[in-house]
Symmetry: C2
Subunit: 464 residues, 2 copies
């Protein structure tokens, strides 16, 4: 161990190494469920450092776990065995280039998502990736997990927003794919292969991000419905009528609202009449030539009259807008605070959202009718976080209740959806993956893994 520490310290400098035992912040994950002590954490300063570290580890057969903000939810950013080092990209956080005319940005892998947003403040462009962890999630990790977020139904997932990549491969060679164009059909889409590879195929060092014109004219609203059915019907029509402006269409439940109200007594819910299901929408126009407020208010008013809506509000200020979003984005945190939970990161065809939720609730209540279910997510792409907490007063789940994870996953699969919509497979969803995905499919991934990382140096046991 001392030898490795010395060899790597010689490459990157002593200050850029932490011994494993002192690195709990790095080797345990956000949920504090996964992670064992590695040999250490290395903080490279540039691509060359990364390449040299990889060569050393490859020679010594030491596993490398690449790490961005360590906000992942499937145990893929922390070690599962001790003969390993974490390569943290914290110190590679330069914004290399911002090309406004071309609508793109070249960044190092360690740049935090919120810093990408901030760097665009003075421009007429934005990077359309928004998720709860944007204050700590780093670009390399977002690429490696193919992050989705709130605007994925409109602008796509990370794979759709990455124009180019630089990646250090298991032999230390560098794939130089820092291209600045959307259209590049010069062979297999390697950029897409690394998006969602969860650190198993290469260490991402630079990323070219695609930017879009900024919405200067934004309307955010929250609408309450008496039940899921009316909410889904509303969303279908609304999404079509306002398709051109729709930036986000999210949902959560009244149970979720209570979770947030418990977070702090400062929180007050912006809609007066409580309902069963809430839909959050955000419309945006890039130009003051385009009026969205009037058609929006007209539309909501006529729907209010037809009494499909319990109540609704359109934000009148940025602080009101933030408050609305707070109730959606703090759902994971609100539920984390009430104890153990089973997180199901599901997607189903958007026409089947209601059917999925109805059937999933039934499956749960057959096991225990007192389980506390908090479902919320992205109405625009059918991505539902169907999360379960034990009954009030119970600290933990029973064994049978834990089995629900598998059942909910199987239901999504049966409905032509996914049991790993946004968060990936990592180490924690491998059992489900092996059960629900066919042999031909898994075999394809394993072949690809072996062809690129034959020695299994990168993130051993993740996905494959």
């Amino acid at each position: 161990m001392t030898k490795i520490k010395k060899t790597i310290s010689d490459i990157i400098g002593k200050n850029n190494w932490i011994d494993g035992k002192d690195a709990q912040k790095y080797y345990r994950d956000w949920l504090n469920i996964n992670g064992t002590i590695p040999m250490g954490v290395a903080f490279p300063a540039n691509t060359n450092d990364v390449s040299e570290i990889v060569k050393v580890c490859s020679h010594e057969n030491i596993e490398i776990i690449p790490q961005g903000g360590n906000t992942g939810l499937v145990g893929a950013s922390v070690p599962s065995q001790g003969k390993s080092i974490i390569v943290s990209f914290e110190k590679m956080h330069k914004i290399i280039k911002l090309d406004v005319d071309s609508g793109l940005m070249v960044v190092e892998a360690g740049v935090i998502l919120a810093d990408v947003h901030a760097a665009l403040n003075e421009t007429n462009l934005e990077f359309p990736m928004h998720l709860g962890s944007e204050g700590s999630a780093r670009i390399g990790g977002l690429v490696a997990t193919n992050a989705g977020g709130n605007q994925a139904f409109r602008f796509g997932m990370m794979t759709d927003l990455v124009l180019g990549l630089e990646v250090v491969l298991p032999d230390g060679q560098v794939f130089e794919g820092v291209r600045e164009v959307q259209k590049d059909n010069s062979g297999y889409q390697l950029r897409s292969l690394f998006c969602g590879s969860e650190g198993t195929l290469g260490l991402i060092t630079k990323v070219v991000l695609k930017l879009v014109p900024k919405s200067t004219n934004v309307e955010t609203g929250l609408v309450g419905f008496k039940d899921l059915n009316t909410a889904v019907k509303f969303c279908r029509d609304f999404s079509c009528q306002f398709h051109n402006f729709l930036m986000a269409i999210e949902f959560f439940t009244d149970f979720g609202v209570d979770l947030i109200l418990k977070l702090s007594t400062d929180n007050d819910f912006p809609v007066k009449d409580r309902a069963s299901i809430y839909v959050l929408f955000e419309l945006g126009a890039t130009s003051s030539l385009l009026d969205i407020r009037k058609p929006l208010i007209d539309y909501l008013s006529s729907n209010l009259v037809s009494s499909e809506l319990v109540d609704c509000i359109v934000a009148n200020s940025e602080s009101q807008r933030r408050k609305i979003w707070f109730f959606r984005e703090e759902q994971p945190e609100g539920q984390r605070l009430i104890g153990e939970q089973i997180k199901n990161d599901i997607s189903v065809p958007i026409g089947s959202i209601e059917e999925f939720i109805t059937r999933a609730i039934k499956i749960c209540s057959e096991v225990n009718p007192n389980l506390r279910i908090n479902y919320f997510g992205h109405m625009g792409d059918g991505n539902i976080h169907f999360n379960i907490s034990p009954p009030e007063g119970n600290a933990a789940f029973t064994e049978k209740e834990r089995g629900l994870s598998q059942k909910i996953a199987a239901l999504a699969n049966e409905m032509n959806g996914s049991f790993a919509a946004e968060h990936g497979i990592g180490r924690t969803k491998k059992v489900i993956y092996n059960e629900l995905r066919g042999e031909a499919e898994r075999d394809l991934r394993l072949k690809i893994k072996k062809s690129i990382d034959n020695q299994n140096i990168f993130n051993k046991g993740v996905i494959n």
Copy 2:
């Protein structure tokens, strides 16, 4: 040869086989440049047929060339050697499912793109892939080439529009990835790997297409500019102001207009005052609640006053709209009729379009100032078809002129763009690919190819 014919005929029936010598339509490509006589052409009726054919060919070591509409431009859909069969998907043209609520469609690989559009006529949805060859290009081929088209800057390329795939692998096994969700991070994005694999990794048999709300309110216009610089500046501002509605923003030259006028005496150019560069735009709104005509006319009027625009027209009828598009879409056909040509399918960062064209013209005129250059393409994503015809009166290029292809490609590469934006590598761009893409990158693709098709049964010599 007789043996193979018999074995395959026994699987798919005699009527679904054509001997190679009788199959010129299938073994020569659209440009009539590539293709030699194969053993025959097989027309499977379903996935099982495809799988059985693959098993036979794999056993006998016979190359398979998958073929959709045979509209490819890089020689990837026709054989380059005789120990081969073409698998045509012409007879697999069923639309299996149209799910309006989920905004998706499941089709067999042989469905023609225009038939997808037609099937959506009575719905409020559309499939946002439009290109010149849509009357003959088939979905499987569009996936395998990762087609781009006119709306790629907005809705993405084929890889962004494919939710799921079914693919027959080189051992005859079937990858069952017919999922119906955008968000599926259950391991490497195999759907994206097959998008752009040019028939080298698997035979695509079924595709789940993502649909979007239909624009019911469409405005199409054509604007003339005195030079490229003013056209590019206009596009930059216009794209931002009308971003929410922008469906297409294309361009072509006055030389290109003459090409189309020669196609038939019936064609008349819709803009009165001829200019140097023309920009075609199309705006679309999905709802009658949203007015686009008034802000558009206001915008164009104020720009006309500032005399940046030579002339412009906004279509007043569907036939006028079609006429405008005709001048853009028939550019390839117009140029094909004036003889041999060098087709350069380039993309550059959109901020560098003007620089690229200026430098590329200079490179050409240094070789021969009388070359006829016809550049046109997609302003929204920097995809430029920079096509060259020999000087007036010359039937063919000189050797030195042919070398321009390499030089133009190298220029795009130097500018962080691509020399194969939409059309792929196929067989005809391999020399350029080997020269311009680094060893680490090519090696990655070769490793993937070998890991999946170790015997090199599928489209030998394409890409790798």
